[in-house]
Symmetry: D2
Subunit: 334 residues, 4 copies
């Protein structure tokens, strides 16, 4: 059960509501977000919702049987648009493309990418400065120096940036140089990281785990939400299966289902999904048909020279073509 | 290596070509299809293709390193359109929808479905008369009586029919009452069945196995092709993964890859793929973006009363809506 | 619900029982096996079993809610031993090893393998004469000539043989030259084949599908059983997963669960399971701990020269070592 | 390439070795562990190892082409025994059982579990004080207070303890109250956590990810090793597949392969693996046959009352039985 508290409710009223809940044999979690205050009540007894609804200070009350609560459409029927700043929004009908290299490599690269984005109407640039790598002997990114330079150049051009945060201690140092914090597939159930990102006032893009279920992704989002941050973007990036003729099985089905089960915006990552340059465009377009509110994709001035192997990375020409096609596909599903 | 023999080559010439191939340490398979004659040559030595190309009687020669040969784009670069009869073709730019119930249930149902198809410009009706069922105690279909009635009614209305054949002994009895033979996921590697369907002069729709790889599907198609039947349609119908929030993981990626690796047409089956009625439309549209040449879908006059549980089955209204949307999506990818 | 009919029941009595079942709103399947006669009754209403139990001609009656009925331990609590002939039995405490080459290749090989088996107390020889191959261009086995020779030599040495049957039409021609019919992973849901094998009076070894569930395997066994053949041996041979450092994920868990859910004997196939010679012994021993009633394994006089690649095949020395170890492991779990 | 530096090598010598490596076009990582000093050299050119081997200060040099280096048997052929303190070792022929509840719940429980362990000769107690939970609304463990009490009681009884660490900030506060740090499946690729645990002088038990590959597990171990901590124990705990008749597919194959590819000890977790109480014993015994150096299992004084659902948890009687059986199984594989 979710109880939304009225904006102007007194502490006295909240205490009384809490006491009522407890007297019914329920435990509760007291949750404050940027936008509202909730009690998430966990228990098994049947309750007459009206008994709660009539209490002073209650704005709304709903029964949500899913394991995820505040992220569920059973709680919030309308779609959420996440505000990224500067009038840029994603979700609830607003579509965003996020493009850029796998890793931020140099100032020249940043400048050239920003130019490419501006020329094509793209408002958000992606790129890694801390890279999770399977092997400890691989390049792990430029770190904070790279991030500061990137943020400076991007904000001068009114481009928002999204980059991956890998651990709690990085949140604070990265905070002022990031527009969207990305949580990677390997950290999809790093609950301490999710807890802390719930206390931040910036949007979080949360990737599905390498073999995470749809329900687990929504529960991970619930960690962020229940810690106070409602600005969450979900991301499908392919799952592990037995098939080896592509990199991951991009699960287009998940996009459709996430859009149905949750009010949060959903972004597709076809680059890490199918992972083969020449197929990225078709999978991006398919994702839009399935309901995606955005696409995040790898673009590089010279994919063959990218730090990462770049097999999934588009060059500027391919990127431009795909952006055009995505525009037309969006017309169809509006 | 594939050697295509000239249409008017003499037996003498073919023998000479074969002898040359053997003298190079290669074994060969002599293959005659409806359209052409080939030698598929298997061996490991490096060969100068020109030595073969110059022989009298050789129309063309190609090196194909894939495990599948005649179904590969390395052999045939242009796309294949499969002729279903009555001027209806699928592939190489021609798109077909196949719609109908899971199982054929009654004359009334056949009549009503045909009406629905005609009203919406659909030319192929699907339906099962022999049903593979996990449990031996389940309904297994109306059999030949149902098929004969169905074929009669359909052909009177210029509607083509596609239905599943489950074993070799059924091919002959079904042959005159079928326009497309369907091979189900469970028979995707029933090699004896594939061998025999290779000797039939009707199109074969071959479904990917429940956890079949893309390469295995193409090798299964190679069985049909190498036995003489070039009229093959591939079908993606979802694979088995750990995710349980839908029925199968419809592998949209496979559509894109099959279209790239093979010249054969590819059909999407979103009904058995995602398996949830309210999501079928989005997955059908996504499949078109990924490159599908057709969609096969379940439609029933009253899905709740279908023999199979019908959870993935559209009613006529939903079907009409989706057909309209698919038309628009096709415009986009042409 | 399963009703076992008394051996000496009259047709009159059976009719009366059937009528009672129908009057309760149940449909039924009339099943005769080598050993008994049953009515499998399918319906949803709650029934007082005593009403049936008191009818004349009823030997026993049980409620079985599983999708599989006669193969379930809910029906038959004691374990089944399958009689292979010549006093050789498998299951209910009796353990058998089945060893031999992937494909039968020559008379010399047969003779040499039989010698190896006899020297090590093994009573059942495995080998393929019809081989399912992914590619139509691969060797498909020696066929009936090889089988006849093999059967002659084996029966002269009191060795039983197990070999794969791939299609209905082969059953009759193979019948007199086979002691156990094997159904391969690719045919695990070839229901027509299962139906026909249910009418045969020889044991059937039924392999789990390449990505078959445990429940599907038991339902496939139910096809054989409900057609009249109770002599069924189940076989775990590895499933498809994302892991690539071995051939298949040998699912040792399945052995334990099959032994719990079904009364039928369960055999492990570590050769096709893990698929790497040097690991076969450990997986064979693990399977015995998990409850396997037998092990089927590939042995070849010279694995490097086997028709199949032979990477999972033991040589005679490795085979002898493993047979000794399996003997000791069996002592532990008795 | 791995270069082990002599214990008494001078800095001068190390510099010279590094310079030689660089001059060959290789990059290198300078690694100091508790036991030795290494240069891990990454490059693609063919090198004559003798050129390095003859340099002063080099103890040993090996080419290791795997993505994991120091954890590979290609580097260290003999098996590693990890010292847990108090003369307790695991690996290289020494076998350990780790038993206890899922979560530490109370003082009474700790006392009762320790008694059970001592009575059965078990030297290591498992239990969680920080629990990773899919839902933010679930119980997350007793935290540091619980840990301190537990450690006090355990060390008074000469029982070592193993418990999960979930984030970098916990390492320091937990350090003095832990004998083995456990890294859970969800953190198997939390590289920052692995980096920091590499700087700790306590053994690390590293669980395979929920759908982690065997290679990824070894690479994660490489993170710990290359940061300085050689005391690593690997753990197989079941992977995600499509099968639903048990909790996870306990991958017994992985135990055999890890033991072959790495010198590190491998522990089996049948409780979280198959996840069903009545099957835990068979899977534990199978794991020993596959080569496991230890078993970690859940035991609870009253499994039905455990905080976690306890479906995989043994009671004391079942635990005692299994410990006896494991003793006998160990005799067999010695």
């Amino acid at each position: 059960m979710i109880i939304q508290i009225q904006k102007n409710a007194t502490e006295q009223e909240v205490k009384k509501i809490s006491a009522s809940v407890q007297s019914m044999g329920y435990s509760f979690n007291n949750i404050k977000t940027q936008f509202a205050r909730y009690l998430i009540c966990i228990g098994k007894k049947e309750i007459d919702l009206r008994e709660i609804g009539f209490l002073s200070g209650v704005a709304d009350v709903f029964k949500v049987s899913d394991a995820y609560k505040l992220t569920s459409t059973k709680w919030k029927v309308g779609k959420t648009a996440v505000d990224i700043g500067g009038g840029i929004r994603i979700g609830n009908g607003e579509f965003q493309i996020m493009a850029g290299p796998c890793s931020i490599e140099s100032e020249e690269q940043i400048v050239s990418t920003i130019e490419h984005l501006k020329a094509n109407g793209i408002k958000i640039m992606r790129g890694g400065v801390y890279k999770p790598r399977s092997s400890p002997y691989s390049f792990r990114g430029l770190g904070m120096d790279g991030l500061k330079l990137w943020y400076k150049l991007a904000s001068e051009s009114n481009i928002k940036i999204i980059t991956e945060v890998m651990q709690v201690s990085q949140i604070e140092e990265m905070h002022d140089y990031v527009d969207i914090f990305q949580v990677g597939a390997r950290n999809s159930q790093n609950f301490n990281l999710l807890d802390e990102l719930g206390k931040v006032d910036k949007p979080i893009l949360l990737k599905r785990g390498m073999s995470g279920t749809i329900e687990e992704l929504l529960q991970s989002a619930e960690y962020v939400f229940s810690n106070g941050n409602e600005k969450i973007i979900l991301c499908e990036r392919g799952i592990r299966t037995y098939e080896t003729s592509y990199r991951n099985t991009m699960d287009i089905n998940a996009i459709t289902i996430l859009k149905d089960k949750s009010h949060l915006p959903v972004v597709a990552d076809p680059s890490h999904g199918i992972g083969v340059r020449k197929y990225v465009d078709k999978i991006a377009l398919a994702s839009i048909m399935a309901g995606a509110d955005g696409v995040i994709m790898e673009v590089h001035e010279c994919p063959q020279k990218a730090f990462s192997d770049g097999q999934q990375t588009l060059d500027y020409g391919q990127s431009k073509d795909l952006i055009d096609k995505m525009g037309k596909a969006r017309e169809l599903v509006k």
